[in-house]
Amino acid sequence: MEDAFVHSALPLLAVLLPIVGAGIVPALGRGSERVRHVALLTICSATAVLALWFVPGALAGDVREAYLLRVTPQIWLHLRVDALGVLFGATVAVLWLIVLIYSIPFMTDSHRLRRFYSFLMLCLGCMMGVAYAGNLLTFLIFYELFSILTYPLIVHEETPAALAAGTKYIVYILIGGSLVLVGVVFTFFIAGEQTLAAGGVLSSDMDGGALRAIFWCFIAGFGVKAALVPLHGWVPDAHPAAPAPFSAILSGVMVAAGTFGIARVVFQVFGVEVLSQLGVMPYVAALAALTVLFAAVLAVNQDGIKRRLAYSTISQMGYVTLGISLLGPGAAVGALVHITNHAFMKGALFLCAGLLSKHAGIRNVSEISGAARRMPWTMAMFSIASLGMIGTPPLAGFIGKWYLGLGILDAGRPFYLIVLLGGSLIAAVYLLPIIYRAYFGQPPSASARCPDEREAPTSVLAPALITTLLTIVLGLAATVPGSPLSLAQQAVDSFFR
């Protein structure tokens, strides 16, 4: 079956809309905050609607393309919306919209809001570019841009800790980015610039050593972003330092962008056949397994809630990498669907963590005792999202893990089943005590309480509630056409044709 190509300016619009928005938002904000918020929400909703607009087409196998710029006959920029891109793009846009709704009331008393929002919008545009990139050069440009534009958002608080975390982030990410650059240049050198499509740019009759070098450059480069274990150092520092809404994005889609990059490289730069002949994937799988278990074990002893969640992100992204690296259709579906499901579950967890810290002053697990009595909604949402992370059916986390488990067995590596279940079990060990304490722990004495410990206002609860509902709905309605699962299946079908 040949995919139908449709030339369309819509992908370009999805990328440009937020970027243009980033330009006009600071100008608008000078007058009234209200206008700025309306403009932000309009832009973000329009982007989300566009991203969801592509879903039916992607399910039907259509591919929309938009050529941006042809620098030389060999070099051009180009957007291409395939099922994988639609899945990631829709996740990004929807999560971004939810986070924006959350951050408008949440960030009101913060400083330098214009900077915050315009960088937020810039990042959204670049992320959409990453999702819809049609060739490696476009991918690289948007990937580097959003990596660097993230910096002002991480250091937004401008506390020494935030600045230190930002420095750490930028050092890690620039090193990772330059490795990706090397990989891209090398690929270009031996294969020329080509469209990213199923089957791969590289073929197995090329030099094996060169292919291995390219592969490891890409894995190390994207591995920094995807927080593969020896390269994960920036994650646990950047998450607690960033403002809560942004940590939700950081954890939900930014780290996932690394795994998305790995997926693009594995399935569309190399292709399944080349990689299985090259025999490098078992090493990546072992690395991913190490990531899952090591990060989970480290998470158990973190006292800071956001820090614990950050380690959890590392661990969960390990699942995605594991699923991709097994090179089997089932595992790949599980991995891709877990990107989306994890984004919303972790989004809910971080948004709740933000509410706990802002409205009850709770930043550490040791302070959370009795929080459920004060903030029943927040803790209920936190609990549902936690159960989802652990993989309890019928919540979203179960879907990815189910397909991943079946994929592991189809790939004939039952050993990784232990990693899958062990990681989830340790997730229970680091998440359930939080809930248990919040509901059944002894609340602190009256003197230790801070004055305004009431449930957070509806305006911030509502977005968190949306992510929680998505956690439930994505689990219950996993097989409905248009769900992440169907998109992932569509994408994987094309890779394994």
Partner: protein
């Protein structure tokens, strides 16, 4: 509440005619992965029936029992969710559905366990939670592995022909473990005796009576549905042998469970705790029945029927017992058997119903336990007959002994609580409980008797059609009803059991054997806790060592950085020195040495001044009242910055002065005065320190102090007057101004004295040549620098402009270099692309 449970019960009852006409009634809901399927076959139906019946009774009972409790809304809410999950488990049509409801059941029932919120309850609930979670993971692992074995997730036999033995056994073990946790199977029973007694009595009845049956149901499905060869298609010997192995394993787990449960039950004081241990033990009976059926194979109808019958029976009598004991606690407030007694007068109806339930659990003829225990016993004998394994003979003996132990326990319970003498007089409030509670007990007791008298209801009505639907022979059940039911042999076995029980009771009470307790480390619970603690300790260790590793790496990096910086400073100093030499011309050896030492001393002085300022600032900050660690750290940094800037300017001034003096031939004088001057200028350290602290304070409050800093630096150098001081001694012994080359020549001659004439000559020649060339360079450099200094003399330009200019230049340089880098990169890409293009 009552209405809802009653409707549910009626709904379950409505399944009876449906299932009778078609043994697989099903429904599907299209959610989650594909769909959730529900199938009601006779076995599922019977579980649903007794669950809803017991639930109805317990709810009826709880209305009065919980009336004075807090949180009864939460209780009823939990109860309904758990009922729904329970029905979901027993009516599930595939493994995913079953797993979904099984997890929901386990997690929501947690709220029952922690309901009272006492310290004991929270301890029990933690154990319960972790065991449930672990069980859930074992179960999902097993479900995954059925996929590897080639099964779909339906509750149909897995094709076992060509799968490796290890995989088969692992899958089976995971299933049994997953369900066994819920069923209270030894060795994963530890949560049960803690969790069941701490819940309110009606919840205990549900936990012990109904919910653990979900585990038994699961093990039944595992043995009889999943790991059973497809009977119709192939009855190959080898496959049945594999299935028999699984059956035998379950059988032995059952034997261990029943024996250990009963032994532990005998040692209990508290009535509810004892009942909980009996739940463990009775689950053992059920497992033995199911296991025996699996071991025997196609002819194992009696085992299946016995095991499931016992599940129904246990639900009825165990909930009745918990409710009865609850009634006693409700009235007396006392749950310790040894402190109660003689209640039969005060609570006659309760006594009667308890007696019926105890007769049921001990297996008195015409009560329900008799039938199921005899069925299981016959199944065990039949299993022995299959291969005549000696071990099964022992198992049969243990079985009889356990029946004896059970009898003993309940003689003890009835004897201590209702008969015997009370420890003290009861108040007037100790009477039979309110009618609704009694009605619940009466309903259960009626069911116990009904099933005891008419076992055919279940055996012919449910189990036979169920087994027939699987195409298994069912003659054994009919044979039991015709031949064995109420036969002398069976009656004898009951008598034997009661004889053993009475003996144990008498001996135990006489020698108070029931108060002996084994040390903690004998129990598996101790080891579970130890391993959980071990895991936490391990993870803490991993975390700590990882942190230590990170710390070491960053320390290494920091040290490297510091080393590189100090090395750079050394190089810089040498360059500085070289520049001075170049600028001043080559002095003689002495002059050279002097310039070098003077530079070193001045540099040291500069560093010392900064250090002095920081120390001063530190002491000052410490002495302040509003000492704030973070703020003072920032202030110290500011002081360091400002002092460093000022001293750098001072240093520049001093070295310039020195260079000028050396150049103008005053080197000797400067050398003589230097020691003294260095000593004097130390006094100016405090000036720098004070200014720096003052300005740092201003800077911390947000003021721009650049102007003040340079002004202060100017002022300080004026006050210090380094050049004036260096020249002061010249006033009284002013030497004649000698030309530069002369002084150098004098130095050279002095050298000749010390190192020898012939060498000095060559040295002198060389030096003279060098000197000349340097002289020329010096002149060039001097003119060049003079030109330069005339162009930008700092005194004449506003220092602020200089700073601004410098910043602008830096920025410009950076931008330009970035731009150049970008262009280079771009061209690189272009060149590469063109190359690649041309190659193609």
């Amino acid at each position: 509440m009552l209405a809802v449970t009653a409707t549910t019960m009626l709904g379950a009852a409505a399944l009876v005619p449906l299932v009778a006409s078609n043994p697989r009634v099903g429904a599907e809901i299209p959610v989650m992965i594909g769909r959730l399927t529900f199938i009601a076959d006779p076995f599922g139906m019977v579980f649903a029936l007794f669950s809803t019946f017991v639930w109805f009774c317990a709810t009826l009972y709880s209305l009065d029992y919980l009336s004075h409790h807090e949180r009864h809304d939460l209780y009823h809410c939990t109860s309904l969710v758990v009922l729904g999950s329970m029905l979901g488990v027993v009516l599930a049509g595939d493994l995913v559905t079953l797993y979904l409801f099984f997890e929901a059941l386990g997690l929501v029932a947690f709220l029952f366990v922690i309901h009272t919120r006492t310290a004991e309850a929270s301890r029990a609930s933690v154990t319960y939670l972790w065991m449930t979670v672990l069980g859930g993971f074992a179960l999902i692992g097993g479900i995954f592995l059925t996929h590897a074995l080639g099964g779909d997730v339906s509750l149909a036999p897995i094709p076992l022909h060509d799968s490796p033995e290890l995989l088969r056994w692992t899958t089976f073990a995971l299933f049994v473990l997953g369900f066994g946790v819920k069923a209270g199977m030894v060795p994963v029973h530890v949560w049960l005796p803690d969790a069941h007694p701490v819940a309110p009595a009606s919840a205990s009845a549900l936990l012990s009576g109904v919910m653990i049956k979900a585990g038994a149901y699961g093990i039944f499905r595992t043995v009889s549905a999943l790991f059973r060869p497809e009977v119709v298609t192939d009855v190959s010997e080898q496959l049945w042998r594999a299935a028999a192995g699984f059956g035998l394993a379950v059988l032995w787990l059952g034997i261990a469970t029943m024996a250990i449960g009963v032994v532990l039950a005998l040692g209990q004081h508290e009535a509810k705790r004892m009942l909980a241990y009996h739940s463990v033990s009775q689950m053992g009976f059920i497992l033995v029945g199911i296991g025996a059926a699996g071991y025997i194979g196609p002819e194992g109808a009696m085992g299946t029927a016995g095991g499931l019958f016992h599940a129904v029976n246990h639900a009825l009598f165990k909930s009745a017992l918990f409710l009865g004991v609850g009634a006693v606690i409700y009235r007396t407030g006392q749950g310790d058997m040894y402190r109660l007694g003689g209640l039969w007068r005060r609570m006659p109806w309760t006594f009667a119903f308890m007696l019926v339930a105890a007769a049921g659990i001990t297996g008195v003829p015409l009560f329900n336990g008799f039938v199921s225990k005899c069925l299981i016993h016959h199944a065990l004998e039949q299993a022995y007959d299959v291969q005549r394994l000696a071990s099964l003979d022992i198992a049969e003996k243990i079985y009889v002994a356990t029946c004896g132990g059970t009898a003993c326990s309940f003689i003890k319970l009835i004897g201590l609580v209702f008969l015997g003498k009370p420890e003290h007089e009861y108040g007037p409030e100790v009477t039979d409980p309110p009618p609704r509670m009694l009605a619940a007990l009466a309903l259960l007791a009626a069911a116990i008797v009904a099933l005891g008298v008419r076992p055919g209801l279940l055996l012919n009505g449910v189990f036979e059609p169920g087994l027939r639907a699987w195409a298994l022979p069912t003659q054994r059940i009919a044979y039991y009803l015709d031949v064995y039911f109420l036969s002398p042999a069976d009656l004898m076995s009951v008598v034997v059991a009661f004889a053993i029980g009475a003996t144990v009771y008498v001996v135990g009470m006489r020698f108070s054997l029931f108060h002996i307790h084994a040390p903690a480390w004998v129990g598996v619970g101790y080891w579970y806790h130890a391993s959980a603690r071990g895991f936490l300790a391990c993870s803490a260790w991993v975390g700590d060592s990882y942190d230590a590793y990170l710390e070491a790496v960053s320390r290494f990096l920091r040290n490297t950085l510091i080393g590189a910086r100090s090395m750079w400073r050394m190089i810089e100093r040498d360059i500085d020195h070289l520049a001075v030499i170049v600028a001043t011309g080559m002095p003689g050896i002495k002059g050279r040495h002097f310039v070098r030492t003077a530079h070193a001393a001045l540099d040291k002085e500069r560093e010392a001044t900064v250090r002095y300022a920081v120390t001063k600032a530190h002491a000052w900050l410490q002495s302040r009242e509003d000492f704030d660690a973070r703020r003072s750290h920032d202030t110290l940094e500011a002081v360091r910055d400002i002092a460093a800037y000022m001293t750098r300017r001072q240093h520049g001034q001093r070295t310039r002065t020195l260079a000028e003096m050396v150049r103008s031939g005053e080197a000797e004088a400067a050398r003589r005065a230097f020691e003294h001057v260095m000593h004097e200028i130390r006094a100016y350290r405090s000036g720098v320190a004070h200014t720096a602290i003052e300005l740092a304070e201003q800077r911390m409050s947000g003021l721009d102090v650049i102007d003040q800093i340079s002004e202060a630096a100017e002022r300080l150098s004026r006050e210090e007057g380094f050049d004036r001081r260096l020249r002061t001694p010249l006033e009284h012994e002013r030497p004649t101004r000698v030309a530069l080359h002369d002084s150098l020549g004098a130095d050279a001659e002095r050298v000749t004295d010390t190192v020898g004439r012939w060498r000095a000559r060559w040295f002198g020649h060389a030096e003279r040549a060098v000197r000349r060339s340097i002289e020329i360079t010096r002149l060039v450099v001097e003119s060049a620098t003079e030109e330069h200094s005339r162009w930008a003399i700092p005194q004449q330009v506003d220092p602020r402009t200089v700073l601004k200019m410098r910043r602008r230049i830096q920025r410009y340089a950076r931008d330009t270099s970035l731009g150049v880098a970008a262009i280079v990169l771009f061209f690189l890409v272009v060149v590469v692309s063109v190359l690649v293009g041309s190659v193609r």
